[in-house]
């Protein structure tokens, strides 16, 4: 068993970490995500992950065929059996 003096700094560090975590978590709680009616800016085309939906679709089709795996992206095969 170590002497009590060695434990004390660790206790203090623990307290600091808990305090910092509590502050960080409280920061998350006060953050207000945009409400459903405030998503006009997020809905703009330049805010999308894929700038070109057709291009993204084609890319995804090629990717799934090369990787021999489908699903997860909402783009399935074209029904031609070549997927």
């Amino acid at each position: 068993m170590p002497p009590a003096r060695a434990v004390l700094p660790l206790r203090r560090a623990c307290g600091a970490i808990v305090g910092a975590l509590a502050l960080a978590a409280a920061g998350c709680a006060s953050f207000q995500p945009p409400q459903p009616w405030e998503k006009g800016t997020l809905a703009r085309p330049e805010m999308q992950f894929d700038p070109d939906p057709l291009e993204a679709r084609i890319q995804q089709h090629i990717y799934t065929s090369k990787e021999a795996a489908t699903g997860g992206y909402g783009v399935g095969g074209g029904g031609c059996g070549c997927n």
């Binding site: 068993m1 170590p2 060695a6 434990v7 660790l10 206790r11 623990c14 970490i17 808990v18 975590l21 509590a22 978590a25 409280a26 998350c28 709680a29 409400q35 459903p36 009616w37 405030e38 998503k39 006009g40 800016t41 809905a43 703009r44």
Partner: protein
């Protein structure tokens, strides 16, 4: 050594508990639901007149929250025009509340999808906040006494018939 280990484990537990409670505290506002009194609003139309829900007492009111960037709204507008044409004479009032920040966006939408019914503007978003609108679009069917009788979140072609039946039943009740 065991004391050090124990205290560090307790520290981690305390931190975890704190993080969890902080997350749980971020509670959501409750949405205006069926059976509740419809929150009041008074909003301007394009011509500068104002439409107040309190002035529509005794009517069956269909309040629709919409935005120019809301894709299903493009399909709901022609349907609401049909409703207006069929039931306005029998006591149905459709109030479409636009929540766009910019009026120009709303006008561009209306040029493409004209509305025969009443359109009002709430760029500040006070009325959707009062109703705690869960998604776009959301419609509230309000009976002549001002009580919400149905909340329709989103708009689907397969829901048209059921909604119209609800409206017809409300109009016939009186």
């Amino acid at each position: 050594m065991t004391v050090v280990l124990l205290s560090s484990r307790r520290c981690a537990l305390a931190a975890l508990a704190l993080a969890l409670t902080a997350g749980a505290l971020a509670a959501n506002a409750t949405a205006a639901g069926t059976g509740e009194r419809a929150p009041a609003f008074s909003l301007p139309t394009a011509t500068g007149d104002s439409v107040a829900l309190s002035g529509l007492a005794g009517k069956v009111v269909y309040v629709d929250f919409w935005a120019s960037w809301c894709a299903p709204c493009r399909r709901s507008f022609p349907w609401m025009n049909e409703l207006h044409q069929r039931y306005a004479g029998r006591g149905l009032v459709i109030v479409a509340i636009n929540v766009d920040r910019s009026r120009v966006d709303a006008e561009r939408f209306l040029a493409q999808y004209p509305a025969a019914f009443g359109v009002v503007y709430d760029p500040a978003g006070a009325s959707p906040a009062a109703y705690a609108v869960p998604g776009m679009p959301t419609s509230y069917l309000i009976d002549p006494r001002g009580t919400i009788v149905h909340v329709e979140q989103g708009f689907g072609d397969d829901r048209k018939a059921a909604l119209e039946a609800r409206i017809r039943a409300l109009l016939g009740d009186r």
